[in-house]
């Protein structure tokens, strides 16, 4: 059984979720093929062998240097047609989810997005995925071939498992590209919320847009900064920072909630974190019922003190 993993790279560096996807693919079968799309990326491709890719297909074209849904759908659909995998595994990133959705319609095949577990029952892929913002976990059976599974970042372990990693160029027929990327504004070095190992979030208790105490703690921990919906609604933080049912779901090793009361929508978005710390001055805040470690106190005293304490050990 062939499993095809669609890799995601940014400027020649693979996203962590690509390694996670390869490891998950290895659990389904030994015949794991990776597909890398880009331009001038052949050098990086061999790295995928380390995580279990027996074969690494490389599709290169100027039009693949930047992800566009048109070009990527075209090339991936072609490769699926030739490699005939039983399962296609993609990282459930912004582009991965879009590409998976478009592919499912082009190929008329099943898609489970944002999967947190993947297994075979006989020949059938059964994926576990959150619904209702994480309030429910559903096991879904995917019929037909290939089944597409987009995997939520930070859930599957990325385990090294050396395989041949034979690099092979494949044809890159990009088709008609209608969506054009005009520009990008990326904060370099910024850790994305969904991939971060540690997240520090601030909520209504911040009282304003000054997140300097949160940012200082995040810096000390090499963490990403998140926010509750109320902080976003107040305009203190951008919507892309929002954790919860109408924002992002995060699964870090450590989640530190500062001045967040813990509305059900927020809890749904972060309760799969390994360890939760809550800092809030209201001892009745619902967040304390979900936190592993709770500190009742003023976040503007506790958080800077915590930053100093962390610096001592890091």
């Amino acid at each position: 059984m062939t499993v095809l993993v669609v890799a995601e790279q940014v400027d020649g560096a693979f996203r962590k979720v690509t390694f996670e996807a390869l490891s998950a693919a290895r659990q389904l079968g030994d015949d794991v093929t990776a597909l890398v799309l880009g331009n001038g990326i052949q050098g990086a491709a061999a790295e995928l062998g380390k995580y279990g890719a027996v074969k690494v297909l490389v599709a290169e074209d100027e039009a693949l240097a930047e992800y566009t849904v048109d070009a990527y759908t075209h090339v991936v659909a072609d490769v699926i047609g030739q490699a005939a995998p039983a399962v296609v595994v993609i990282g459930a990133t912004t582009q991965g989810k879009e590409l998976a959705a478009r592919l499912s319609a082009r190929l008329d095949v099943a898609l489970a997005s944002d999967c947190v577990a993947l297994k075979l029952e006989g020949d059938q892929v059964v994926a576990t995925r959150p619904m209702y913002g994480g309030k429910i976990l559903a096991d879904v059976a995917l019929s037909g071939t290939p089944a597409i599974a987009a995997l939520r970042p930070n859930i599957f372990a990325a385990a090294e498992s050396p395989a041949a990693g034979t690099v092979e160029q494949v044809a890159a027929n990009v088709g008609e590209v209608r969506t054009q990327v005009k520009s990008k504004q990326l904060e370099t070095g910024k850790i994305d919320l969904t991939e971060a190992e540690i997240v520090v979030s601030g909520g209504r208790g911040m009282g304003g847009a000054d997140y300097s105490v949160i940012e200082a703690l995040a810096d000390a921990l090499n963490a990403a900064v998140g926010a509750s919906r109320s902080a976003v609604d107040e305009g203190w933080r951008p919507a892309s920072d929002q954790v919860g049912q109408t924002g992002k779901t995060v699964s870090p090793k450590l989640y530190i909630a500062c001045g967040i009361s813990g509305a059900i929508q927020h809890l749904a978005g972060m309760s799969s974190s390994k360890v939760i710390v809550a800092i809030n001055k209201d001892p009745e805040a619902p967040i304390f019922t979900k936190a592993d470690y709770s500190i009742v106190g003023d976040l503007f005293e506790v958080v800077p003190a915590l930053t100093e304490e962390i610096k001592k050990i890091r």
Binding site: V69, V109, Q180, L306, E309
Partner: protein
């Protein structure tokens, strides 16, 4: 400008969700249903574009009969008309829903389709791009700003670590992300007017499908609730410094996450 909005009715996000006795669906008794929050952004954006350029805003939905409530709310916000396809007993997965939406849209004039980037019930991120694919249209996801000029739509999109600007020729489908706008409330006169606006309900047969053509490829086998988290320990101490020292010790030595 003929603008279509894809809309789904979903349980309000503050709802407690419980699993029904069949183990593969949720208990719906007493749930409050609303327009999917991302679709509400889509309705608002469609109204803004219509206000700037004139045209028509049509709400298109696939769902049970009660979805008319959500469509009426969108009409009360200012949309012009609505079409609902009620699949009856047929269990449609997301791709089947996309096929039905695409079939309905093919029969309508259309310059722009606006969808939520996901529905907050299924959370499958599939319907918008799938509808665009089935219609042979370009799509742009996670839009936080858009501008239409010279037959093109230019969008600022939210991506990991920042934003990017993407454009595509019309007709196109865009999907919304929070930050795009603040949806208006339905006004009382709006609610009165909405009662008289056209809202058509169709069956799968009306739009040319039978159940076999829409057989679900994704079937829910079981549902469970995530493991309950219990309250852990409250860290006591005489001062903030004493508390954080204890916390860091616990994170470092007990749970080993830092």
């Amino acid at each position: 400008m003929e603008i279509l909005v894809l809309l789904k009715q979903v349980p309000a996000t503050e709802s407690m969700i419980a699993i029904a006795d069949d183990g593969v669906s949720i208990k719906t008794d007493g749930l409050k249903y609303v327009i999917n929050p991302y679709d509400e952004l889509a309705v608002e954006e469609a109204l803004k574009i219509r206000e700037a350029q004139s045209g028509t805003v049509t709400i298109v939905s696939v769902g049970p009969a009660k979805t008319t409530e959500a469509i009426r709310t969108a009409l009360a916000m200012g949309a012009d008309k609505g079409v609902l396809v009620d699949p009856g007993d047929v269990q449609c997965d997301n791709l089947a829903v996309a096929k039905v939406l695409a079939a309905v849209i093919r029969e309508m004039p259309c310059d722009l389709i606006i969808a939520g980037h996901r529905a907050v019930d299924d959370d499958n991120f599939q319907v918008g791009p799938a509808v665009a694919e089935l219609l042979g249209m370009p799509n742009i996801s996670m839009v936080v700003k858009e501008e239409i000029a010279d037959g093109k739509i230019t969008c600022t999109c939210s991506v990991e670590g920042g934003t990017k600007v993407v454009d595509a020729p019309l007709p196109a489908l865009i999907s919304t992300q929070r930050g795009l706008n603040d949806p208006r409330y339905a006004s009382l006169p709006g609610i009165m007017k909405a009662k008289k606006k056209p809202l058509e309900t169709k069956s799968l047969t009306d739009v040319g499908f039978d159940a076999a053509q829409l057989a679900a490829k994704v079937v829910i086998k079981a549902m469970k609730t995530p493991p309950e988290r219990a309250a852990g320990r409250i860290i006591e101490g005489d001062s903030a410094q004493a508390k954080v020292a204890e916390l860091v010790k616990a994170l470092h030595q007990e749970s080993k996450v830092i």
